[in-house]
């Protein structure tokens, strides 16, 4: 049972990776769209993958480049996208936790088709920065395949 005044957001196991299902919205978007993130406490940063940026058609044109980052052995530009809202489903209810947040979009620096193809295999990631910013704790019980985020006061 969740502690009083704390909400739980269920995570799903996918091939021993923790996945968070979210609905994403940004200014100008007609309806929320689905996006899944890997929760990766080994990552100090959070970002939306190139594949998701292209699938969701998140506007990146004329947006500032924040720098570069290596992910999965490949180098990407980090693009500053407009503020987004992530809606997360609270466990055991029909209520949502809606978080206004800033994430970077990734764009590969490679030009070969093979390297671009590899870039498309990378998932979107929520790292430790996201958990800290939004005051979320992570709870994992691998044997029971139970995992969730919990809001902290």
């Amino acid at each position: 049972m969740p502690e009083a005044n704390k909400d739980r957001i269920g995570l799903q196991f996918d091939d021993l990776r923790l996945q968070l299902m979210a609905a994403i919205e940004w200014k100008g978007l007609k309806q929320a769209q689905l996006i899944s993130f890997v929760i990766d406490t080994g990552s100090p940063e959070s970002f939306i993958s190139q594949a998701e940026v292209e699938k969701l058609q998140i506007p990146t044109k004329n947006r500032p480049v924040e720098g570069e980052i290596d992910v999965g052995g490949s180098r990407f530009k980090k693009i500053d996208i407009q503020k987004i809202t992530l809606h997360l489903l609270k466990e055991g209810s029909s209520a949502m936790l809606s978080l206004s947040t800033k994430l970077s979009a990734l764009k590969t620096t490679k030009t070969s088709e093979h390297k671009k193809s590899i870039a498309h295999t990378l998932p979107s990631i929520l790292g430790l920065d996201f958990l800290m910013t939004h005051n979320l704790s992570l709870h994992v019980f691998p044997k029971e395949k139970i995992a969730y985020l919990q809001t902290e006061e």
Binding site: G10, Q12, F13, D14, D15, Q19, M21, A22, A23, Q31, A32, Q33, L34, S36, V38, D40, G42, S43, A51, E54, K55, L56, V71, G72, H87, L88, L89, S94, A95, M96, E113, S117, H120, T121, L122, P123, I125
Partner: protein
């Protein structure tokens, strides 16, 4: 759509998404045998289309007027990826 309807709609979208992800995960071994090295688009517990190239798959979905807002595209490989 008013605010309440919009919220109900998003909750349903999320539930459907979780169901789809569970289904995908439950069938991952089978999919690895069938679609190794391919990008797979799925929705409502069905594979919609596949392609070895992400851009080609996305183009096919859009050409078929598939609403990609609730479609998942995942890369399937027998080789594990470490981030």
């Amino acid at each position: 759509m008013n605010s309440l309807d919009a919220n109900v709609s998003i909750v349903q979208l999320l539930r459907n998404g979780q169901n789809d992800l569970s289904w995908f995960s439950d069938n991952s071994d089978k999919f690895k045998n069938e679609y190794d090295g391919k990008f797979v688009a799925f929705h409502n517990k069905q594979i919609i289309d596949t392609d070895a190239n992400f851009d080609s798959l996305l183009n096919k979905l859009r050409k078929d007027n598939v609403d990609t807002s609730s479609v998942f595209i995942k890369f399937i490989s027998k080789v594990k990826m470490l981030l």
